[in-house]
Amino acid sequence: MGESWFRREFLTPRRAVFNVLFYGLQLAFFAYGWWAQETNKKLSALNALKWSVWVSRGAGLVLAFLAGCMLLPMLRNVIRVIRPKVAFLFPADENIWFHRQAAYAMAFWSMVHATAHYVNFYNVERTQVRPEFALDVHYTQAGGITGHFMLLIMVLMYTTAHHKIRHQCFEAFWYTHHLAFFFFIALWTHADGCFVRDSTGPAYTDTFPFYDPKFCLGYESWRFTIWPGIAYFFERVWREIRARRATRLSKVLVHPSGAMELRIVKPSFKYVAGQWLFIQIPEVSRYQWHPFTITSAPEDPYVSVHIRQVGDWTYALGDRIGAGPSVVSAMTKAAMAGAEKDDSIYGMRGDFVEVDTSVRSLPEVRIDGPYGAPAEDVFNVEVAVLVGAGIGVTPFASILKHIWYRQKKGALQSLKRVEFFWVCRDAPSFGWFQTLLQEVEAAQVDPNFLRINIYLTQKVNEDMMWNIAVNDAGAEYDPLTLLRTRTMFGRPDWQGIYARMKQAIEVGQYLPGINEQLKTTVGTYFCGPPVLGRAIHEACKENTTANINFTFAKEHF
């Protein structure tokens, strides 16, 4: 970690504002809910229960606020549209992060609310302010039973959403999270039991909302929390409509590294480089949508995604299109072996096999998206530093291709240079990406525009070391990646890299025509594990000066 909790939460201005607003609002709602209950003359009978009823009502109001917040960050299409307009205000790409913060807060306030209600119903039974058993309130009235039901749903949803479970079994997370539907039904009917009332019996009616608001004096929070729910419902309907538009899987390419490239033609699908999409293949699974980064550039006549066969769904897909695990693993092995004894310039690693479609037809696909990613604004900075780690390199396929197309058209806007970093453990497993890099590298006219830096972090054994030593010396291409750029070994020293870049910009070496007096923005776009991201973010912050602004953006997928 390195930095203290206080520094992270309060000494970063944006984070501090968020914390004050988000948690301040919760406390304010709590205080208001408490006060409104305590001072309500009509509810004096209920107020005989004293602090427990005040706490439960306060916490209940906070929970309504949080449940309203819960769905807002999941309105992906809305976020995609408003993202460019609000990027300065809050990081719209951190929507899942916000969703989680709201969830954590909700767990805490649920504890407060439920604890207080346990005391309430206990005292209702003891003092008989209402002639009923505590268990009646708990399990036979709407408020109690929906509350217990929501708690159970929360246990299931929270436990399966833990990153460990989510990564090992996305399906479990995906299906369980749809319990949210029942959760919200329970939430909106939670007050229908009319626990908060000034009449002795609950004032039910036969018409919507089935209780009489004259006597049932709850906060009527469902009138507010239902709107995000309706918005989310329409979001899902819209996604479904869009997904049903004409889509055709035109080609499947199998790369020796094991990645399947699906080339999909969908004329109605408009996207920009660096975005991602959801894909569904009804024949493999009827309901599952899987997120993938788009690897084609918007200029390409198709949308492509690269899928590595790593899980149930991806294996099943491989089987279905005739590129089953056995085929791929054989190819991968050949590629890994070939990586070291390959001596032709454009070796076999770049070759791919197109799946023969004459034997059996390709499956139907549906795609949904695109959804935003910060790399959209790569053309607004002078220097773009693209850092991909491992599989995190995929969004940059699209971006590099896109830059290449734009370069050909001469429409690079303010972008002057691109530094591309690829940190990976074993380069041969990303054969398809090397092919792309080769193309992009070969197309470079200005040797300074794009610089590719590849770092291999795996342990190099003796054979490989000799191989490198012998093949590398004097060769035009790097023996491992077949690029002109030399592969570097070990982990990159980010502080050093950024400090050197800063220096070079300051003396005017790095960007001809731009010297110290002009403001320069160096945008870093990172995709990979959080630890690495933090290190790079630190380096960015430390090297920012008055005239050189190092910005940092993280991709999520």
Partner: protein, 155 residues
């Protein structure tokens, strides 16, 4: 993507269940009530619920003295110690045993279901016990922590 490793999921449910119960039992010490006292009990105003004399044993160990609450706190704490795991249990056979957990979880559920605040904790403990049972049926084993990095594929 990949297969759900049941015992890893069960662990989170078990931790939730035991922490919930510890908190509930703490509250239960202040607001003592036998959950099942409505059976044969009568309501009197004022005076509240009068439990049936048949359950006086439970009333003694829950209302007169909060024995059940303290016991469920203890089982809850034991479960947290096994699941988290506490340093002295790490790598021991108890830590790796699913059967021990199932037994403890069911015992925990049985104790927790007796007092007023503990029923949800008992329910979650039973869910965790079922998930561990499923893990045994699938032949899952607890691996050493360093191999246990949440990678997909085989458990």
């Amino acid at each position: 993507m990949g297969n759900l490793i049941w015992h890893e999921w069960a662990r989170y449910v078990a931790i939730t269940a035991s922490v919930y119960t510890i908190w509930a039992a703490f509250e239960g010490i202040y607001f003592r009530k036998f959950f099942w006292d409505f059976i044969g009990g009568i309501l009197r105003a004022p005076g509240g619920l009068q439990p049936s004399p048949n359950v006086s044993f439970f009333v003694t160990i829950i209302v007169k003295a909060p024995i059940i609450q303290i016991l469920s706190m203890l089982t809850g704490a034991t479960l947290v110690a096994i699941e988290y795991p506490a340093p002295f249990l790490k790598g021991t056979s108890i830590h790796r045993s699913f059967v021990a957990r199932i037994v403890l979880l069911i015992l925990h559920a049985f104790i927790a279901v007796l007092f007023y605040q503990g029923t949800n904790g008992a329910l979650y403990a039973l869910i965790a016990a079922m998930a561990y049972t499923r893990a045994i049926m699938l032949g899952e084993t607890m691996e050493e922590a360093k191999n246990n990095r949440g990678r997909g594929g085989q458990a």
